[in-house]
Point group: C2
Chain length 251, copies 2
């Protein structure tokens, strides 16, 4: 529909424009957006003008462009991420009140770990993840849980590699990764010291919907030397609570 | 760009499709979307197919359509709402730990109150608001704060009416509303019993960025008969903390 000579749809060009925004780049000029989206200047200006017209982008007093609240509203209002996150938040707060580090909720999205919620204590240790940020599945404790319970063909595709080393301790050997995944399915938890950052240990458990399917991973990021048992107990209780809350939310 | 015979851009049609999703309607058939978006069936199917292709919509096993995680990710990753909400959340949690009802963060969006975060105690009283939900500015305590500190022409436009009664106690008299707004600017807080729901009292304070501009309203929703002073003190401390956190976030 309404394809450009390159065969690209208007929708694809819109996505390319939206993709140029991220945590470190919330305000850009139209020229910067065009360059980062690799769109001809006139095309970029037209797409941006259309998006501003619809409220999906906004201009500030200097004519610089940022994401519109309207986009945020449309994306969240009807999203399953919001449902899941709303069900999970009270339980995440309970984990956070006891463990006081980072508590995170992640889902499988396009073969990666997408973090949809994170609570952090002001004095908590290092943590590389961000809300709406991604990490490779085999790297973080959350990703390992999602991979262990994901579709079989996804597991085989990831195991076939290449397995990028996010830190020097990321599991990049496919035979070892296979054993780790089997261990997660057996134990219902993973403890992954140093797999993302040398100074931290990730601990993650699966979150299931009422029929038992794993729909998310709940995790904490602890300082490397911290005991993991209290976190495992908190996470298991919280995951079970989320399952119950989800069942109540959608009869 | 790529306008239809009706003069509507592709972007507008995309927005109309996305608008059909909300909290109570997270999964729809293509036919339902087309009907609700008032688009011809063939147009609706093309727009949906394009959006699915880009990951902004997803299809389930029954070919029903829901918002894609990719949309959620694009909307949040670079959004100022996420920045504000991340700065505010630890302070909202502190309010919530003490007041144990509903704690909310709202911004002005397109002449309405848009709620971007809400924490609720499991045993808290009634509350009509939702995350990514809206209320008229003059109805809720949050909206009154945003209106009191909003652009002057916005205030005059709202005061010119009509002023919808969300509850039987919503202020719908423009002279009285003008006095309420002046009181908010003078006192830095509003207590609005019954203005949204008869059983509740909203209490809201302004949240300022470091230069003093009001960028959000922080509020609690209390049972009608609850004392308001502890909430006012908590909200003021939290709003001040958010201002400091925002200043630290963006040097």
């Amino acid at each position: 529909m309404a394809n450009s000579p390159s065969g690209e749809s208007v929708t694809e060009r819109i996505v390319r424009v939206l993709e140029t925004f991220d945590t470190d780049r919330t305000v850009q000029t139209a020229a910067e957006i065009g360059r980062r989206a690799r769109l001809p200047s006139s095309t970029a200006h037209r797409v941006i003008a259309d998006l501003v017209e619809c409220g999906l982008l906004e201009r500030d007093e200097d004519q610089r462009v940022c994401l519109g609240m309207r986009l945020w509203e449309l994306a969240l209002r009807g999203s399953r991420a919001l449902h899941l996150r709303q069900a999970a938040l009270p339980f995440m707060e309970r984990v956070q009140a006891h463990i006081r580090e980072h508590t995170q909720l992640a889902v499988l999205e396009n073969d990666e770990t997408l973090f949809i919620e994170r609570l952090s204590h002001p004095n908590a240790g290092a943590n590389i993840t961000r809300i709406a940020g991604r990490l490779p599945l085999h790297a973080s404790s959350s990703g390992l849980v999602l991979l262990a319970h994901g579709p079989e063909e996804l597991g085989e595709r990831v195991l076939a590699g290449p397995l990028e080393a996010v830190s020097s301790e990321t599991v990049t050997d496919s035979a070892r990764l296979r054993r780790v995944l089997a261990g997660i399915r057996r134990d219902g938890v993973v403890v992954a010291p140093g797999s993302v950052e040398g100074v931290s240990t990730g601990v993650a458990v699966p979150v299931r919907e009422r029929r038992g399917q794993v729909i998310a991973a709940l995790s904490v990021v602890l300082p490397r030397e911290a005991p993991t048992r209290p976190a495992i107990e908190e996470l298991r209780a919280a995951a079970s609570g989320i399952t119950t809350a989800l069942a109540a939310q959608r009869p």
